[in-house]
Symmetry: C2
Subunit: 127 residues, 2 copies
Amino acid sequence: MKKSTAIAALGAMAQETRLDIFRLLVQKGPEGMPAGELGARLGQPSPTMSFHLNQLRFAGLVTSRRESRSIIYSANYKAMNELLTYLTENCCGGRTELCTPAAAVMSGGKPLETETVTPKSSRRLSK
Amino acid sequence: MKKSTAIAALGAMAQETRLDIFRLLVQKGPEGMPAGELGARLGQPSPTMSFHLNQLRFAGLVTSRRESRSIIYSANYKAMNELLTYLTENCCGGRTELCTPAAAVMSGGKPLETETVTPKSSRRLSK
DNA sequence: TTCATAGTTTCATATTTATAGAAATAACGT
DNA sequence: ACGTTATTTCTATAAATATGAAACTATGAA
């Protein structure tokens, strides 16, 4: 992975709404989630969502596909994997063991605490 | 690790000069490196360095100590470890194996390619 | 003390990023 | 063709970030 790619990915993750988006998509799996549902869950207006989704897309962290009226976004696990690899290789000075996440050791660790996201504006999901 | 801490760390790394600084410090080890030498190696003026070093310090990624006239910065491996753990746990949806860096598997992998940093202004190091 | 060195802080400026209303576009049902 | 829904693009504005000159602070040496 090129340095510039890593910087783009880091910058994309370094923002609360985008980090929330990515976490939701990762939980959802390859099936993905439409932009509207993401916006409703995070309590963000659609232009704001569109902006952040674009940032994530340019950074290669999510992919999108149209499905009838909706546009479905999904997490790109490969990109996240490559980012973690980059950080591990480049920012742990050979001393890989010093920076290796605990989770990696116990393969099949705890199943991700689902710390529910609090929407800013309370808006209803799907009617 | 709190979400806000992770965002601060990601933001700190998402900038070329700061990523370069961190990589140099990680390579150097706990001994650390004075601000001046970092600036000389990266070809950045001191106020710029001071600014970026502060960002890294606020994000908890580096520590500093005064040693006579110099101020020595060192990488905080623990912080980087925690960031990687956070990303692995929160952004890999339980599917830890999908995002686990290869480097973590082959413990004691390749010793970090030292891709030399090109200084912007060609300035001499140490006289 | 005075001087040089190593760094920081202050400041002005330029650039980038974030937010959200209004308007435009796309896909579908009638 | 028309209305509805889903999302984007355009636009404006506010806020955060990056840069470097100039001024300031701390340390050690002459």
